[in-house]
Amino acid sequence: MTAVSARSTGPDELRERPGVPIRLEQLTRRYGSVVALDRLDLDISGGEFLALLGPSGCGKTTALRAIAGFDRPDEGRVLLDGRDITGTPANKRDMGMVFQAYSLFPNLTVADNVAFGLRVRRRGRAERSGRARELLELVGLADRGDRYPHQLSGGQQQRVALARALAVAPQVLLLDEPLSALDARVRVQLREEIRRIQLELGITTVFVTHDQAEALSVADRVGVMREGRLEQVASPDELYERPATAFVAEFVGTMNRIPATMTGREVELLGTRRPVTGSAPEHGAVVALVRPEALLAHADPQGSGRVITRTFSGAVTRLAIALPDDIEVRVDVASAASADLTPGTAVTVAPAERPVLVAPAET
C-alpha cells in the first residue's frame, strides 16, 4: 500500500479504522561494537497500546526508530499488517510520531503545523483547515490555532505534536518519550489524555519511555528491554506481580533485596520460610526479591530492626528500616496504622504469606 494515500483523514475516519498489527522479526542493529538491538522479536496487536520500557541504552528508541523508518536494521524485518516495510522510506510508512524534543515547525502557526502532513498530501485548503480544527479540538487546543509554537507551553506543544501526528490518519502512532521534557503534573495529565485519545481512536500505539509509572499506567502491555533484547512483555499487573526475571523485578517498581537461603522448594528469609515462585536453585545462598508492600513491620521493643525514615504519601507510608548485617529494606504500611512507627522505633520485619521470587546471590 502507498503510505501517502488519498483517503480522507480526521478523527471520524480514525475511529472507523481498525488498528493494524506490527511484527518485529529478529531485528538487529549494531553501532560499531555496540549491539543496540539483538535479534529482537515482538508482536504488537492491532489497536494495542504497547510501552517499551528500559534503562538508557537498552535499545527501546532504536526499536521505535526502526519501526518509524529512521533507522535501518542490519538484520531482521519490520512487518506492518503482514507487509514487509523494512526498506520503505520513513515518508512512505504512514505512521505518526511524537518526539521527545519539541518538534513543531517554528515558522508555522499551530493550525499550519497540524495541517502540514495534509499539505504534503496536496489536500485542499478547506479540508486542511477543517481537519486541523477537528484535531485541535480533540487535544483541547481549538482556540490556539493561530498561535505560533513558542507562544505555547511545553505541554501544549506536545498536544499539538500529537494532533499533527494524528492529522494524517496514520496506521500506527509512535511516541518517543513525549512526556519527558514536561513537569510532573503536566506529564500525568498528558499521559492520561494520550491514553484517552488512543482508546477513542483504537490506533496501534508504541510508547517508548524510561519512566515505569508512565508505562504501567497507560499501556495494555509493557515490554521491558535490556541490552537490545526483551526481558518480558506482559500486562502491567503481571509484570509487577509476576516478573519473569530478577532484572524485571528490580526495574519495575521498588524491590527489596534480602539475603536468603534455599531449603528445597522453600526460601528462608528474615527468620521465616516461604514458598518460591519462578525458577530457583534447590540449595544455597540466594537473594529474595520482595516488594515493600509484601513486607510486614510492627513496633516491637525486642525487634532487631530500626526505623530510619518514614515518608508519608497519602494512604500509604513508606518506612526505611535498618536490619542487622547492614541490610536495609523499604516497607509500605497503611498510614492509618503507622502512627507508632516513627524514626528510631524498634521493629520486627517479616515477609507476607505469599510466594517469594529469588535470584542468584551474586546478581
Binding site: 503510505a3 501517502v4 520513513a90 515518508n91 513543531l104 515547525f105 517554528p106 505560533y148 515518608t311
Partner: protein, 295 residues
C-alpha cells in the same frame, strides 16, 4: 539509604517556601566603562569616515554636496555598480545552493564528514587570495588554447565575458565559503534540525520538501547573515577583479581615484552607506518576520 533520604528531602521540600532569588547588585562604574569602550570604538570607526566625508564636501568657499551629485552621471559608475551587484547576487545564490544542502547533509546524515568539510571551507582563509587568483589566471590563459575548437574553449571564453565575468562568481563563491559555512552551521546547530526534519519526513515530506519547507525557514536568519556577508565581500573585493582585469565597483573607484580623488572618496563613502542600508534592510526583514510570528 541515600535514595530514601533524598526522597524524604524531596517530600519535605515540596511544601517548603522557595528561597528568594538573590538579586545581584550592579557593579558600580560598569556603566561608565561601557560608555568609555563605546566612545573609543566610535572614535576609531567614525573619525576616518568623518574625515572622508569632510574631504568630499570641502570646497574653497565652504561646504558643498556637488561631488555627490556628480556620482550618478560619472563615467562607468552605473555599469560597474550594476556588474558588482549582479556578481554579488549570483555569488549569494550559488554559495547558498552549494552550502545549504552541504551543511544539512553533514549535520543530519554525514556527521563523520564534518571535520573534512570544515577544513575544506577554511582553505580560502589559509590560502591568500593572490595565490588563488594567480592559479585562476594561469588556467584562464592556458585553457582556451588547449581546448581550442572544442565546446570547452567557448565555455572558458564565456567565463571571461567582461560584461558579466562568471569566473569572478566562482572565485567569490570560494572566497565566501568560510563565512557562509560558519553562518549556516551556527544556525543548524542552534535549531534541532534533526528532529524537525524527521518530523517532516514522518508526515510524508520528501527530502527536497524538507529542505524547502522546514530547513530554509528555520535557517532564515542564518541564510540572511550568510547572504549579507557574501554581498559585503563581493562589493568590497578588489584583488581578484583587478588582477584578472575586470572592472567591478572597487576597481572602478581606484581607476577614477587618480583623476577625480574627491569623487572616488565620495563613492567609497556612499558604498559604505549602501552596505549599511543593506544590512539594516536585511535585519529589518528578519525582525518583521520574527514580530509576525511573535504577535
Amino acid at each position: 539509604m541515600a535514595g530514601v533520604t533524598a526522597l524524604a528531602e524531596s517530600v519535605a521540600g515540596a511544601g517548603g517556601v522557595a528561597p528568594e532569588t538573590p538579586v545581584r547588585p550592579g557593579r558600580r562604574g560598569a556603566g561608565a566603562w561601557r560608555y568609555a569602550v563605546l566612545a573609543v570604538l566610535g572614535v576609531y570607526f567614525l573619525v576616518p569616515i568623518a574625515a572622508s566625508v569632510w574631504f568630499t564636501v570641502r570646497e574653497r568657499d565652504g561646504v558643498s554636496l556637488e561631488t555627490y551629485a556628480e556620482i550618478p552621471g560619472a563615467e562607468g559608475f552605473a555599469e560597474s555598480l550594476t556588474r558588482s551587484l549582479a556578481l554579488a547576487g549570483l555569488t549569494v545564490v550559488l554559495a547558498l545552493l552549494l552550502m545549504v544542502p552541504t551543511v544539512v547533509l553533514v549535520n543530519l546524515r554525514l556527521p563523520r564528514l564534518r571535520t573534512t568539510v570544515e577544513l575544506l571551507t577554511l582553505m580560502p582563509l589559509v590560502l591568500p587570495p593572490i595565490a588563488l587568483v594567480v592559479g585562476v589566471r594561469s588556467v584562464l590563459s592556458w585553457a582556451p588554447d588547449y581546448f581550442l575548437n572544442t565546446p570547452l574553449a567557448e565555455v572558458f571564453f564565456a567565463l571571461q565575458e567582461p560584461a558579466l565575468p562568471w569566473i569572478l562568481v566562482f572565485v567569490y563563491v570560494v572566497l565566501a565559503l568560510p563565512f557562509v559555512y560558519r553562518a549556516l552551521d551556527a544556525g543548524v546547530r542552534g535549531a534541532d534540525l534533526r528532529t524537525l526534519s524527521e518530523a517532516a519526513r514522518n508526515l510524508g515530506a520528501s527530502w527536497p520538501r524538507v529542505l524547502v519547507s522546514v530547513v530554509l525557514p528555520v535557517l532564515r536568519t542564518s541564510v540572511l547573515n550568510a547572504s549579507f556577508i557574501t554581498v559585503a565581500l563581493v562589493l568590497g573585493e578588489f584583488t581578484v577583479a583587478n588582477i584578472l582585469g575586470f572592472e567591478t565597483f572597487p576597481t572602478w573607484i581606484l581607476r577614477i581615484g587618480g583623476s577625480q580623488p574627491q569623487l572616488s572618496v565620495a563613492v567609497s563613502v556612499l558604498s559604505l552607506l549602501v552596505t549599511w542600508v543593506l544590512l539594516l534592510m536585511i535585519s529589518a526583514l528578519d525582525r518583521q518576520r520574527g514580530a509576525k510570528e511573535s504577535s
